[in-house]
Symmetry: D2
Subunit: 340 residues, 4 copies
Amino acid sequence: MNKVKVGILGATGLVGQAFLWMLSKNKLFIPSFLVASEKRAGRSFKEEVRWLMPYSMPSDLAELEINKMDFNALEKEGCKIIFSALPKNIATEIEPELRKRGFLVFSNAGAMRREENVPILIPEVNPEAIELIYKQGYPENGFIITNANCSTTGLALALAPLVKYGIDEIYVTTYQSLSGAGYPGISSMDILGNLIPYIDGEEEKMIFETRKILKISSSIFPTCIRVPVMFGHLESVWIKFKERVKPKDIIEAWTQFEVGKNQTESQPSKSIVYCPEQDRPHPGMSFHGSPPGMTVYTGRARKYEDKIGFVLLVNNIIRGAAGGSIQNAELFYKKHGNQI
Amino acid sequence: MNKVKVGILGATGLVGQAFLWMLSKNKLFIPSFLVASEKRAGRSFKEEVRWLMPYSMPSDLAELEINKMDFNALEKEGCKIIFSALPKNIATEIEPELRKRGFLVFSNAGAMRREENVPILIPEVNPEAIELIYKQGYPENGFIITNANCSTTGLALALAPLVKYGIDEIYVTTYQSLSGAGYPGISSMDILGNLIPYIDGEEEKMIFETRKILKISSSIFPTCIRVPVMFGHLESVWIKFKERVKPKDIIEAWTQFEVGKNQTESQPSKSIVYCPEQDRPHPGMSFHGSPPGMTVYTGRARKYEDKIGFVLLVNNIIRGAAGGSIQNAELFYKKHGNQI
Amino acid sequence: MNKVKVGILGATGLVGQAFLWMLSKNKLFIPSFLVASEKRAGRSFKEEVRWLMPYSMPSDLAELEINKMDFNALEKEGCKIIFSALPKNIATEIEPELRKRGFLVFSNAGAMRREENVPILIPEVNPEAIELIYKQGYPENGFIITNANCSTTGLALALAPLVKYGIDEIYVTTYQSLSGAGYPGISSMDILGNLIPYIDGEEEKMIFETRKILKISSSIFPTCIRVPVMFGHLESVWIKFKERVKPKDIIEAWTQFEVGKNQTESQPSKSIVYCPEQDRPHPGMSFHGSPPGMTVYTGRARKYEDKIGFVLLVNNIIRGAAGGSIQNAELFYKKHGNQI
Amino acid sequence: MNKVKVGILGATGLVGQAFLWMLSKNKLFIPSFLVASEKRAGRSFKEEVRWLMPYSMPSDLAELEINKMDFNALEKEGCKIIFSALPKNIATEIEPELRKRGFLVFSNAGAMRREENVPILIPEVNPEAIELIYKQGYPENGFIITNANCSTTGLALALAPLVKYGIDEIYVTTYQSLSGAGYPGISSMDILGNLIPYIDGEEEKMIFETRKILKISSSIFPTCIRVPVMFGHLESVWIKFKERVKPKDIIEAWTQFEVGKNQTESQPSKSIVYCPEQDRPHPGMSFHGSPPGMTVYTGRARKYEDKIGFVLLVNNIIRGAAGGSIQNAELFYKKHGNQI
């Protein structure tokens, strides 16, 4: 089978790198047109990227040329499917234009998530949300499908099997890694042996996106804090359920969470893995699992009075960004790929 | 005035070092008898300590001799006041024995905090608890006064001015520094660029001690996590108050918190300082304030729905350990010093 | 083909983990008998290991049982080939005993490297040294083949193609990662945001082993320093050559270094890769290359007056430990495997 | 005595902060006019600074107003003495202009160090170099006195007492802290748990400046590498002396190094302190000594064959930057202060 050519916007950034690294091994898609800022155009990916992934740069993709944004060139190259790792302000302009021109945009940018007809899609959680693309005018137009903000992705996945118990209140405090801020992102002088107790816009995103994905109206009380960790967001969660729930119930719910098993290539055999050890999960496990970085790990399920507490780990760059978008594109392709 | 001679138990450990560093500048007390494990006895403090404070070792104390535990020698040296930085299991044995023999023990160890007549004392918060010493048999016997666990100290101080609003529920998630685990404590392989989402016994301490100090029965939901920071515990807090409270109310309560101002030498002019910047406080400020490390910093006061959120920073080694004990001894000396 | 069963001594330690991780994908060898300290015996690898590799634990090996040291059981299991990740003092006793009993020991321990007939083997550098096994009494006896100390491995590999120019003096200063000290190894209080300018025995090893491997008598001036990095030793080197050498000469020598290409499975297609970027290599690249961690990266080749300077990076746990031993076993098997 | 008013250029940067912090306790000088980039002008120091020192911001200076660069205003304010923490490119323009207008410039910038008549002054090392100001046209003009680059300062101080033995060759490899790159400086993604084996221009500075300060023509082979440490540069040094020298000779030379003892207020009683412990000094000691950060610590003196090796630690922000300039100004004031 010929692989489907895809374009990658924001290819040299951290999420762009994650796209290339994951796609270099993908059986369905192949990166074919890379877009980055105009000053990089004409040079190779290898020359322009500050490679930060803990694995080697895929040698076959290293020589791909960087292009400036060019709708016609994308079309000419045959890249109907677009992965967007653009900064918010640029995404706000370009993604709707791509949709208008018929492109199928799988976006990691936060820009369009608040638009009613744009799904925030996590295949294991709300696969039905993909149908919103028809409300965006597809197939006459293209569409935009977003994945959730990185910290929200972990929370929404861990909560998905628990929604059935009724969720009244969510207290979530995050330990977010540096890679979430991109490159160069955070100054080493601010974070080496230190913490930054504020992440612009993050708490609002967690509230809005968690509700939209899970279709719940629970109260959510988030505190988002940056920690000196390279990859992986850890989150501490306390939940007030409507029903009586014991720790073993939520562990069982996670263990049995098998919705859409093997739905797509990038979906791990178990999307949520509970760690029985008392001091797990930790960010050192961010690239564990298969494919690396796609599993959400939970741990420390415990009850105190009427609340349930636990911690979770999500790889913010893979599951919470590039991998999420790729998984969304795979789901689309599986369901509606014959239409392309 | 002649300074009052004091003994320090566990002198070469991290808290022991903090005792010596703070006392080297204290006007009331002077370290006179240092106790550490028997194998260190007979050598100088300087030779036996792995000095870890960010400041120079006090040169006048560096030459003090290390002794093994010896009740008679302590007495002979005239050290009636004892600062204890002993590990829990040793403290459990030795501290009651010291009390029986008439010593006045100011302990940083968790061993005795659950005993009904042993106060967990924070001079600005519950100075009246000092009177419990009489229930321990003082002045016929000696007594034990403890300071709170490090993370509890910060929480109890920040909450003290807010108790008046009625506290229903406390959700507290900690970012605890390495020094809290002592030396050698945590392996670098476990924590460099990583987190450990569990601290043995810490969550139970926060619940019990916060209630005992503040004389409240609120529900407390703690998650305690170790972060790669050297000094200073950061805590993220969400509170459900009984009354309607706005962020400006709690900021005002902190700002006006002046109970017992200038009570003792080691008490800062303002024990709680609110940081108006949106990304403060952070652990890099752990040794700010005067005396360094005795101020608790709060920040990010905000309201979401009916809950109030904020963050706080406490220097775990100074305010949350050695400094707390010293302040307690100063308070005792001020109130009852004429009895010694 | 049936894989060759091997025993792993010190299986739960950091190097032991690296052995299991690498061997889980090896086509020739399969871990079949794991040895660790007696108190761990009878439980599974998974239960007893503090897994520290940046990749998932191999699920097929996770359930292997831990055994105490038992020569007969090893024999019974059919494990003639032994990989040793024992601490030096234990290795000193056990490895000669294994040899006497006919086992083929590939050791990462420093214990036997100074014995004249024990080779310190790096297949690309001194493959002929393998013949020393006959001087150890093989095949009547077994033998011990060691790989070099981690920092020496990187230096010896980088220097191998340069020996032809005559090496008078080597000034080498290391930036050694925490994993080199094992687990728990170095206290986080000593190294977070800090350095330790001394590594016990390391400088002596670099001098002795580099000379033995390269068969040179150059003067070597090493300084070995621990840095807060998890994996990968960086080394800064200045060389006084006997001949006139330019930076481009050494770059060319590295580039053309193809001795024994594809000799063994674990040997990368290029064992030394020169990085043309001015700020490379760096430890973030420790698991780059294929197999991950087996490539030595060099960079910053430059001349000042009559000396040549460069930097190099070696993955201390893979190339400098487990991977080195495995590669040695593969070389033995290729050359003399028919004898087993 | 009235303090002498001084101006500080680049006041909100990292070195600027160090100037303010040190001067807040200085008995001779008082910061009176702060200059930073134009966009900050009109606001207070406190509002505009990202305070990064490990100590509290001096409360008396926190309210000082930030000004844009204005020669007349500086003059009007009576600030004849100027401390410059300007970036190189701006310093190149402004410092000569200041000199022309009669200001006495004590500069931390590298801009003018290569000018023949501009001294690179370290009071304990080359106090006589101060006389170069007359070759700059002083007192008709003002003058520029620079302090050395941070890593050079430590090296030159440690070598000063050793020059008498004749220095043939210096091999120096640095472990430079993040603060040396200013703020925001180095991306956390580049350095957390990592190293950067290149610092632009640094190696050239070490060669040129060390020779100029010590008036030697030795061969110097530097490698400069950035490490994840906040404050303090560690350096590993191997020296080829002309004479036969033993480790005890250099330890003695350091110990007896008393040139100009108590010359100025900011000069410590011992400018070089040798650490006898085998694993010292380390960057955790950067703010040790009195005044904090002004002592250069050496350690690990050892001989191998005919070379002498040692390590040294210099606080790059204090001794290697702001403190060096202040000390220079104090020396000038002591020698020629009556002329102002």
